[in-house]
């Protein structure tokens, strides 16, 4: 139950981060299943900026393979949770 709550909160944080970095996408249009590569017309530089914020904010050390497979908000959350699990 606690894990679910953590995940939901983390998802909201990532969505907030995504919306604040990209700037032109309304908050309501973003859900955990949003594919930020295909669902919106976002330039490479903005996506890189968002992913770098995730990396720095959550102190992640993703491998290039981890980076390459992430396309949705849920996958970003999975990556953060996986790294947190490793650290604990």
């Amino acid at each position: 139950m606690q894990n679910k709550a953590d995940r939901a909160q983390l998802t909201q944080e990532v969505i907030e981060l995504f919306v604040s970095v990209i700037g032109f996408i309304p908050r309501n249009n973003v859900t955990p299943t949003t594919n930020f590569i295909r669902d919106f017309d976002i330039i490479d530089d903005d996506l890189t900026c968002f992913m770098m914020q995730v990396k720095w904010q959550y102190k992640l050390k993703p491998t290039p393979e981890d980076w390459a497979r992430i396309e949705t908000i849920d996958e970003v959350v999975d990556l953060i949770l996986a790294e947190q699990l490793i650290k604990t």
Partner: protein
């Protein structure tokens, strides 16, 4: 010198020459040739007795001046170098702008790279990502224009995307500026 109408001046001169034994032919023909020559763009005209005037031939030749082609002045290496030094002392921003636009490998700086995305970024974008990730264009019209033109409304996103073009523009400006400087320096030396 007394001012005369062209036909009168030609008439009197032709007859004066005739008295001295030089026959240019009918004064009306001489006047016609002079007028024709004046209507062209040549800078000056000479009416001379034909080469066979010594044998009593009645004729004249029209000699038209020719404009020389003004070719571009030769700009020596020293002149160009002096101008380049002078120019870059004044516009150091050109160099800064150009260096901000140099492509940087994303993997080398640990940035996110996805299949199909660009493998490079630039210094301006990296600075924006690190220090100003949420600095957005707030003005609605400017934001719309930025989105339509650059695909982003992040200030550093716009700078990052626009800077190679600005650098290219500055490079062209630099070349023109240096060229003009060298041209002026060369002309000043000649005059």
């Amino acid at each position: 010198m007394q001012e005369k109408e062209l036909s009168d001046a030609v008439f009197s001169t032709v007859h004066e020459l005739q008295r001295d034994g030089v026959n240019l032919g009918p004064s009306s023909l001489v006047a016609f040739n002079l007028r024709s020559s004046m209507m062209t763009s040549c800078p000056g005209t000479l009416i001379l007795p034909s080469q066979s005037w010594t044998t009593g031939a009645i004729a004249h030749e029209v000699i038209n001046g020719v404009r020389t082609n003004s070719s571009l002045p030769e700009t020596t290496f020293e002149t160009l170098w002096e101008c380049t030094k002078e120019h870059y002392a004044l516009t150091a921003t050109s160099a800064i702008t150009a260096s901000a636009g140099i492509p940087i490998n994303k993997t080398a700086v640990g940035a996110w790279v996805h299949a199909g995305s660009s493998r490079t970024t630039n210094l301006a974008s990296l600075i924006g990502m690190r220090f100003f990730p949420r600095t957005l264009i707030r003005h609605p019209t400017a934001a719309r224009m930025a989105k339509a033109t650059f695909g982003t409304i992040r200030v550093f996103g716009v700078i990052g995307r626009g800077i190679p073009f600005v650098a290219a523009g500055l490079a062209v400006f630099d070349l023109v500026s240096i060229g003009l400087c060298a041209y002026e320096a060369r002309n000043a030396k000649q005059s």
